[in-house]
C-alpha cells in the first residue's frame, strides 16, 4: 500500500469526521407493509417481510427481546445477482457469495428522471436521455453504478408505489437499447432504481421482456431496487456501498445501501 493510498483513506476518515463527506442511507425500512413484487398468481411468489417475536422480556425469555424474520431474497431494498436471470445462469462468480467484493463499492451516477416519471409512470429511459445527461454532468465512468432517480421512493402509499391497474404495474425503467448502451458503451457495474424492479412495470411487454434483467445479468452485471433518497446524491461524485448478504448460491438479498457523498 502506498503512502498516498493511506493518505487518501485517512483523508476520507477525516472528511467523514468533519462532515465534509456525508453517509446517505439509500435503504427503505424493512417492514411487513413494505410493498412486495407481485407476479400473476400462477407463478411462485417472493415472500413478503414478516417478523415474529421470539420473546420480549416475558415468560418466553425474561430478560431479552428478539424476533425471527422471514422474507424472499428480493424483498425490500435488495440486490440482484446475475444468476437471478436465466441469461446469467452459467456465468462465473454470479451469486451473492461469489461476486468479488470490489463490485460492492463503486462510483454512482444519478440520472434524474423524476419529472418524466411523474408525467408518465411508464416512462422509459433512452440512450438519448443518458447522453444528454452526460453532456451536462460528464461521461459515466467505467464500473460505475447508474441509478435512475424517479422519486418513486417518496411514494409512501402502497397503492401509489405499486401503481396497479387491470394491465398490471405502471412504473418507469430503462428501454432495451439503453441497457445495452450502458453495458457495451459505458461498462457499468449495475443499474439501480427506486421502483420494485430494475425494469419498468410493463417491461414484460418489451423485447426482450425485462431487458434490464436480461442484458445486465447476461453481462454479469448487477441490479439494485427499492432505493430511496436518491435526491440526496449529486449527479456525479458519490460512492455507492452495497454488499448483499453472503448467501450461498443466493440470487440476491435485502441489504443496507449506503452512499458517501460530498456535503452539499
Amino acid at each position: 500500500m502506498t503512502t498516498s493510498t493511506l493518505g487518501s483513506l485517512a483523508a476520507l476518515v477525516a472528511d467523514l469526521a468533519e462532515g465534509n463527506v456525508e453517509v446517505v442511507d439509500l435503504t427503505q425500512t424493512l417492514a411487513p407493509d413494505m410493498p412486495r413484487i407481485s407476479l400473476p398468481p400462477e407463478f411462485g411468489q417472493a415472500a413478503p417481510f414478516r417478523m415474529e417475536e421470539i420473546s420480549r422480556y416475558d415468560e418466553r425469555g425474561a430478560s431479552w427481546y428478539w424476533n425471527n424474520f422471514s422474507c424472499g431474497e428480493h424483498t425490500g431494498t435488495h440486490f440482484d445477482a446475475p444468476i437471478h436471470w436465466v441469461s446469467g445462469r452459467n456465468l462465473p462468480d454470479n451469486t451473492t457469495d461469489t461476486i468479488p467484493p470490489r463490485s460492492f463499492v463503486g462510483p454512482a451516477c444519478v440520472i434524474n428522471c423524476s419529472l418524466e416519471a411523474e408525467q408518465d409512470p411508464d416512462f422509459l429511459l433512452t440512450v438519448d436521455f443518458v447522453t444528454d445527461w452526460e453532456a451536462t454532468y460528464g461521461r459515466i465512468p467505467p464500473r460505475a453504478w447508474v441509478l435512475m432517480r424517479t422519486d418513486w421512493g417518496k411514494r409512501t402509499d402502497p397503492a401509489e408505489f405499486q401503481n396497479y391497474d387491470e394491465a398490471g404495474q405502471h412504473s418507469p425503467g430503462p428501454n432495451p437499447d439503453c441497457v445495452r448502451f450502458l453495458i457495451e458503451e459505458r461498462d457499468v457495474l449495475g443499474f439501480g432504481t427506486e421502483t420494485i424492479g430494475t425494469d419498468a412495470g410493463q417491461a414484460a411487454h418489451l423485447r426482450p421482456p425485462y431487458p434490464c434483467h436480461f442484458y445486465m445479468h447476461g453481462a454479469n452485471r448487477y441490479g439494485l431496487q427499492c432505493l430511496t433518497n436518491l435526491d440526496r446524491l449529486p449527479p456525479q461524485g458519490a460512492v455507492l456501498i452495497c454488499p448483499p448478504l453472503k448467501i450461498r448460491k443466493g440470487s440476491g438479498s435485502p441489504l443496507r445501501v449506503l452512499a458517501l457523498a460530498p456535503r452539499t
Partner: protein
C-alpha cells in the same frame, strides 16, 4: 363511525361475567349434542327391537340390546304439562329466570322434557321439539309453536340459543374474495350494527371490495392475517368491540403433493389458512371471551370458513386440503378454550365454492352468496357445524359412515 345509541353499561360497576349451564353429559348422551351441532334432532333407536328412547342410555330400555343408533326425528308432538322455575339455584339459570318448561309427548312415542318458547299455547297443544345448543354448547330440547309466528326469533329462549349478527359488531377478516364480500353483505342484511371488513394488499384493487363501502354499516380496514403486526394493530383498534368474527381469509390453489415443485405455495396456504387463524385467535380471542356477557351487545361467535376437504384429502387440491385439516384441528382447540365463556365456534365445511380457483371443478358448486346466507342462518340457529351444500353433505355422510372407505374412493 357514529356512537352506539343503545344504553351503555355503568362503567363503575363490575362487568357481567359469562356464565354457562352445566356442560357434563355421559358419552352416550353426547349423541344428542353431536346431532344438534349441525341442526338435527335425533333420538336413539334400537336396531334389534325398534324401540325409540329418551333420555339417551347405553342400552335399549326394552330389550337391553346395545345396538343403538341415533336417527333423525321431526320432533312433532303434543305439549302435555307445563311448569315454571322462577328461582333456580345455578347462576346461569338464575340470571335468566324464569324458565318455562314442559313435558312433550312426541308422535314417535317417547316423552321428553323441553324448554318452552314463549308463544307455545297452553297444554294440550301441538308443538315442534328441536335440539338446540345452549351456551355451554350442549344439546337441550326446546319446544316451539306448531307453526311459525311473527317475531319467532325474538323470544328470550331463542335469543339465548342464537348467535345472530342482528345488532352486533362483526368483523369479516378478508373482503377481497367473493366469499368475504358475500359474508359482509349477508351480515349487513341480517342487521349487523357494524361490519368491519379487512383486506390485505388493497392496492391490488380486488373487484368488488371498494364497492362494499357503499353499505352504511361497512368500514373497510387493512388486515393481513399472515402479518402478526397487522393482526395485532387491528385488534388494538377494534378487538374490544368484535361480537362475531367471520374468518374468510383463505389462500386457495389447486395443487397436489407432486404437481407443484417445492413448498412455497403450500407454505402460504398454511400461513393464511392455519397460522392466520392462530394469529386471529390470539389477537381477538381473549377479548371476545371476556366480553361474552357484556351489555348491550356481547361477543357470541367465531366463524371459520373451512372446506369439506378438511375431513378427507381431495388429492387434486391436496395441499389446500391439508391446510384446511390443520385449521379444523385448531378450530376444535379454540372451541375448547371458548367453551367456558359460551362463545360458539361455527365451522363451515363447503364443498367446491363457485369461485375462480375452482373453475375446473364440475357443478354443483355453491355460490358465495348462498354460502353466506347459510352461514347467517346457521348462526341464528345456533349451530356448531355447517355443511351447506349437497356435495358437502354427501361427503359428510360418507365420512361419518366410514372415513377409510371415503379415503379409498377419493384416492382411486
Amino acid at each position: 363511525m357514529t356512537m352506539d345509541q343503545r344504553p351503555h353499561r355503568n362503567p363503575a360497576l363490575p362487568p357481567r361475567r359469562p356464565t354457562t349451564p352445566p356442560i357434563l353429559r355421559s358419552r352416550f348422551a353426547l349423541g344428542l349434542t353431536a346431532a344438534a351441532a349441525s341442526g338435527r334432532f335425533a333420538l336413539q333407536e334400537c336396531l334389534d327391537c325398534g324401540a325409540i328412547q329418551y333420555p339417551p342410555r347405553e342400552a335399549c330400555h326394552c330389550c337391553l340390546s346395545d345396538r343403538l343408533e341415533w336417527r333423525p326425528r321431526d320432533g312433532a308432538g303434543t305439549l302435555l304439562a307445563v311448569t315454571c322455575v322462577r328461582k333456580p339455584y345455578e347462576t346461569y339459570f338464575r340470571e335468566r329466570a324464569p324458565w318455562r318448561t314442559g313435558i312433550v309427548r312426541l308422535d314417535c312415542g317417547v316423552s321428553v322434557v323441553a324448554y318452552l318458547h314463549g308463544r307455545c299455547a297452553e297444554p294440550p297443544a301441538r308443538v315442534r321439539v328441536r335440539a338446540c345448543l345452549d351456551r355451554a354448547g350442549r344439546a337441550v330440547l326446546a319446544a316451539l309453536p306448531d307453526k311459525d309466528v311473527t317475531d319467532m326469533t325474538d323470544d328470550p329462549l331463542m335469543r339465548e340459543f342464537s348467535n345472530s349478527p342482528k345488532g352486533r359488531h362483526v368483523l369479516v377478516t378478508d373482503g377481497t374474495s367473493e366469499i368475504g364480500q358475500a359474508m359482509a353483505i349477508a351480515a349487513a342484511e341480517a342487521g349487523a350494527e357494524t361490519v368491519w371488513v379487512g383486506a390485505s394488499e388493497r392496492w391490488k384493487a380486488a373487484p368488488g371490495f371498494e364497492a362494499l363501502s357503499t353499505i352504511p354499516q361497512v368500514t373497510l380496514l387493512p388486515l393481513d392475517v399472515t402479518d402478526t403486526q397487522s393482526v395485532d394493530t387491528l385488534a388494538g383498534q377494534i378487538g374490544g368491540k368484535v361480537d362475531i368474527l367471520f374468518n374468510t381469509a383463505e389462500f386457495h390453489r389447486t395443487h397436489s403433493a407432486l404437481s407443484r415443485r417445492g413448498v412455497e405455495t403450500a407454505r402460504v396456504e398454511m400461513e393464511v389458512n392455519y397460522f392466520g387463524l392462530l394469529r386471529l385467535a390470539q389477537a381477538f380471542g381473549p377479548a371476545m371471551s371476556a366480553r361474552a356477557a357484556e351489555v348491550p351487545t356481547n361477543a357470541v361467535a367465531w366463524v371459520n370458513v373451512l372446506s369439506v376437504f378438511a375431513l378427507a384429502n381431495y388429492p387434486s387440491q391436496g395441499t389446500f386440503s391439508a391446510s384446511k385439516a390443520a385449521a379444523l384441528s385448531l378450530a376444535q382447540c379454540l372451541r375448547a378454550e371458548f367453551r367456558p365463556a359460551g362463545l360458539r365456534v361455527l365451522n363451515v365445511f363447503p364443498g367446491p365454492v363457485d369461485e375462480a380457483w375452482n373453475q375446473t371443478e364440475l357443478p354443483p358448486k355453491i355460490a358465495p352468496r348462498r354460502l353466506a346466507a347459510d352461514v347467517v342462518r346457521a348462526l341464528e340457529d345456533g349451530l356448531e357445524d355447517l355443511f351447506p351444500d349437497p356435495v358437502a353433505r354427501d361427503w359428510y355422510e360418507r365420512w361419518r359412515a366410514d372415513p377409510k372407505v371415503l379415503e379409498l374412493e377419493l384416492t382411486a
